[in-house]
Symmetry: C2
Amino acid sequence: MGIHTQKRNPAQPLKNDRVLVIEDNPDHWVFIQKAMQSSFMEATPVWASTSAEALEYLNDCLTIGIRTPLLIFLDLYLPDKETGWQLLQQIRSLPAPIGYLPIVLLSASNQVEDITRSYDSGVTSYVVKPIDFKDWLESFRAFKEYWWEVAALPNFR
Amino acid sequence: MGIHTQKRNPAQPLKNDRVLVIEDNPDHWVFIQKAMQSSFMEATPVWASTSAEALEYLNDCLTIGIRTPLLIFLDLYLPDKETGWQLLQQIRSLPAPIGYLPIVLLSASNQVEDITRSYDSGVTSYVVKPIDFKDWLESFRAFKEYWWEVAALPNFR
């Protein structure tokens, strides 16, 4: 699979700000896309379904001027958590501004050791994936308010 | 000045979770304290008014078991921004879990170079200080929702 952007309603204006969603589970990508369409319309989600796709996209941002995302959502189990942590460290070692983009890790695990290791590996914040769709909506509303309305993002806003 | 905890209403139950507020401007400390009393009652703010006080407090957390804060608010101009960046890097180099606590930087500056350098120095998110008290309340409500209700914090929750 290549990099897929959200299918948009042609009546909606193009949203130039992007977030990169690194998620190997297509059902969760659909949830995230729907949650963003409802609660976080300020940005267009771009999907990478593997580590390799994500790194290719981020390297293209550095080299051929593809629009750099303002925020990254990273699934920890990609499909296993070692792959997620490895990708996290690879992104952190990329040149500025990619290397210090905020990375919000989404994970099914609420284990203390997973949370600790993720912060130790350079994640910006660790979020346990909600179970109900209503809670996905709430989470994405909070992401939008925090990152789009309160925080100043690196280099772009 | 030593480390000062918020004066609490004795009718309120003790809130065990702490946030460390590193802020040299007493007026801004009062604003932050009031905003937390209104919008972020889940945690008790602890004030450090200099880099030395902040480092002493964080080292005491590591060595003599003072309760580790879950989040740090750091004023960039402490009183100058070089001091703020230096302290940020000093905190990031402390042992776990102190070294990877989320650090929300509060700054009067909205200059791109200050935002960029702050992320490059390891800040978790950069927030331009609001001017109106109403906007401080909104910001602290967003901090509470994001860090207390959505994110899982390192090692403590």
